[in-house]
Amino acid sequence: MIAAPAYLTPFAGLLCAIVLYAVAGVIAGVLRGGALRIVYPVAIVAALIAIACDLAALMSQGDFAHVLPIGLPGTGLRLRLDTLSAFFGLIVNIGVLAAAIYGLGLDPAHDLSGRIEPFFAIFVAAMNAVLIADDAFAFLFFWEVMSLMSWALVVANHESPENRKAGQVYLLMAAIGTAALLFAFGGLAGTAGGYSFEAMRAAAKTPLVSTLVLTAVLIGAGSKAGIAPLHAWLPLAHPAAPSHVSALMSGVMTKVAIYGLIRVVFDLLGAPVWWWALPFLLLGAATAVLGLLYAVLDGDLKRVLAYSTVENIGIIFVALGMALAFKAEGLNAAAAVALAAALLHAINHSWFKSLLFLGAGAVLHATGRRDLDGLGGLIHTMPKTAALFLAGTMSICALPPFNGFISEWLLFQSVLAGPGFPEPVLRFLSPAVGAMLALAAALAAACFVRAFGIVFLGRARSPAASAAHEAPRVQIAAMGLLAALCLFGGLFASALVALIEPLLVKFAGVALPGAGTGPTPFALVAFDPKRATYDALTIGIFLIVSGTLTTLVVHRISNRRTRRGPAWDCGFPNASPITQYSGSSFSQPLRRVYGAFAFGARDNVDMPAPGDMRAAHFSVTMRDPVWQCLHAAPARAVFGLARRLNRFQFLTIRSYLVFMFSALIVLLLVAAVWF
């Protein structure tokens, strides 16, 4: 056994991986041509190194800090790999690994090659770098690089006007978000101006400063994560990027934003006050329901996935809010349960959302379409993709034995600890939040039954859909990796809980109460084994055994003959695939029940009177209140103001001189009066 040299720390390995990503990106960007092909293989190697380093750092609970002599003059670049960075690094790099494997299967001649690879590599390098930044400058710098690279990926296919609009909105929101973060760090640094995170942690904050920082970081990191009402850019930008980049943006980049939020609110801002939880709980619950209502009514596969990201971010926000509230009220055990829910949902969501986006990418590649109503029947032509997408669907609907259910279970357990709040506001709020979460969970099932059913089941609704072909083998492998992780995370959740234990101890004060005291080592326990247990492994084995047993017995005792015939359909099967339920007809009951309230949805039926020969018309009108109030109205105001001010651009020199002279007089007068 040879002792590892002292410099071979996880931190060094991670730095190597980041450099590897960045160098591959730069080389590919400069040389182009054949050099573009190196990006994905190098990214796979770098991701494997990074995953190993993050895991090592997390398990050894290491805290590695270094100051590199680059960056701002005189301060250098502070980097630190602690358990929080390592955990989120794990999320990022597993996502990158899957996306890069999927990227191997892209056709270099057709898939916008050259406009993706260099940016892809630098994008993932920047995400990793944000996580290990240990001062405000480094954090903001890498955050900006991450935003810009992802913007470049969003507009990679810039021929489409939709994508250009998405890019514009995204750039604007990213700029506002970074400005808000700059403001937040300014507040944290205080008058002393210490921009390292250590100085910020130590600096005293008045309640006013804390409030301002909280608001600013909610705007800055919240908008990047996609919290309502700052989510409007997300369903435009995420689907516009190539699918494996969509997977990274939705599955991974939103988690980097969550990391920023946790870093500032749980770490830098100091001891929490109970009302800090309010914006998290209120915004999170509203986002969860609203995001799904958008998703269930939308007709574009990738946009449905993006809206569902908004929903999942809402769930993470609620979990973080519960954790904050419990921590502020000194209920550490409950805080640990809520924080475990937040962290596990972050990693679980990164797995199943990446899986679903890669599946959507395979569908898009095979058919050229992503509108639900142009697809259908793909389970016959793309059986493997369909099976893997189904695994993702089960996970995202929080159905056992997959992983999505684990975080939901933990979150409901933490809601049940709500009566312990001494603060009446929180005590009243927690059942309301629980009800919203329950509604969101049920809506998620409807949304993804619709998405999977319309795209993969039934009959093909377009020639493109019937001519689809299975995805290349590497892409199936990438999806298979994520699906396996979803199942693993569901069955062996206790392993993941053990992995995040140092984080729970650090931020909630205690490990998950009752962990490891269950009837079996794999059982998940919240608080106390008498109070709440869930053992996915037993349930999973139980399900498989009873399912297999039933199948065997039924095949033994029943008439095993199977005949294929035309569909029954109550005796009147219609040959045309148009008569099937489409995406919009599937969501029609939901539109009537929820859409009328949330979006003012109205069905306009124009039915000619009997004898009248003109065609009947049906249309649906909906308005998006968030877009209209928060985006369209300010945009109108800005443009209106600009048009009015525009007159000043075309004046004679004489008038400009008059303006300057009067401005000078006014300034002098003001100065004279003031002093």
Binding site: G377, I379, H380, P383, L390, C397, L399, E408, W409, F412, Q413, L416, G418, P419, R427, F428, S430, P431, G434, A435, A438, A442, L443, A445, A446, V449, R450, G453, R459, G518, P529, K530, A532, T533, I539, F542, L543, S546, G547, T550, V554, H555, S558, N559, T562, R563, R564, A567, W568, D569, T579, Q580, Y581, S585, F586, Q588, P589, L590, V593, Y594
Partner: protein
């Protein structure tokens, strides 16, 4: 070791028991309905005969049915069976009662529903689509209400585990509690909706545009249909057993009580189930089916009641 074997045997007995009793309960419901309508009605064991007949028939499936369509009946059945086996019946604290708490039970029932809804869309007929779409719409209202009812009871009992909840209500003297009453009303509404009973859906119709569950399974025949019908019967047993376990748990044997106490528990359980079946039959003949778009109001009542129940439980600072 001996305890483990006994518990395992008890669990196995329960799994077989729910299978045996499920068609009988459906038979009783149908018989009661027939008697109320002044018809003679089929004997109570008719569902057994129906199932065995379906098993003996060949299965005709549509030309474009995929693997999902063929495997869904078994998956739906497995989920229904496991859910039914997890609800404490004649005894609390059987082998696997701890494996899934109330939250997990909601998810297991939801999984069966989602798979059936997908199977309904597989052939690509408009009937399958209408059934799946409406089933999921109803679920978006019923499932949150169900979860809130469960959470309310969990708050009162200080545990989300079914045996603990039942044990709590057995050990505390029976008192009238408003939140418990609200929860019961909400639960009954949800149970009607989830089992496709009148007034939400009519299990006896075909060829009617308002049908929900029957429209989803329209393309099934032979052994596949047998599995789906059996799963539906198991689901009724699950919900009746849940009412018996959560709202009237008296008579249930405690954990580790051994076979003799189990026998007494078994009698109590079976009579509670039969009583539930009779009440359901009587309810179904005394009310008409609702239009589909009045359902949100009906299920909304369940949601609001369940929310009020949990709110009260929070305000009174229940044990948890």
């Amino acid at each position: 070791m001996r305890d483990t074997i006994i518990l395992l045997a008890g669990q196995f007995a329960q799994m077989m028991l729910v299978l045996l009793i499920a068609p009988l309960i459906t038979g009783i419901i149908r018989r009661v309905k027939a008697r109320f309508m002044r018809r003679k009605g089929a004997p109570v064991w008719q569902p057994y005969v129906d199932l065995s007949k379906l098993l003996r028939k060949e299965s005709v499936i549509a030309e474009n049915a995929s693997w999902l369509f063929r495997s869904a009946p078994y998956a739906v059945f497995a989920f229904a069976w496991v859910a039914a086996a997890l609800v404490p019946s004649f005894a609390a604290g059987l082998m696997f009662n701890w494996a899934a708490d109330v939250v997990a039970l909601v998810a297991l029932l939801g999984a069966g529903r989602a798979i059936l809804a997908l199977a309904g869309m597989d052939i690509g007929t408009s009937f399958g689509g209408i059934g799946s779409s409406r089933e999921m719409m109803i679920a978006t209202l019923a499932e949150p209400a169900l979860l809130l009812v469960f959470l309310t009871l969990a708050l009162m009992a200080g545990s989300t585990r079914l045996p603990e909840i039942a044990g709590h209500f057995i050990s505390t003297p029976p008192t009238v509690r408003i939140s418990l009453a609200l929860a019961l009303v909400a639960f009954v509404i949800v149970a009607l909706a989830e089992n496709a009973r009148i007034p939400v859906d009519n299990p006896a119709t075909h060829l009617e545009l308002t049908m929900v569950h029957e429209a989803m399974v329209l393309e099934y025949s032979g052994r596949h249909l047998a599995m789906i019908e059996f799963a539906a019967q198991l689901k009724i047993v699950t919900y009746l057993a849940l009412i018996a376990c959560l709202f009237v748990p008296w008579g249930m044997a405690p954990a580790n009580a051994g076979p003799f106490a189990w026998f007494a528990g078994l009698l109590a359980w079976a009579s509670k189930l039969c009583l539930g079946a009779v009440l359901l039959g009587a309810w179904e003949v005394s009310i008409a089916k609702m239009r589909v778009f009045r359902l949100p109001d009906f299920l909304g009542i369940a949601f609001v009641f369940a929310f009020l129940a949990i709110l009260m439980a929070f305000v009174t600072r229940a044990v948890l």
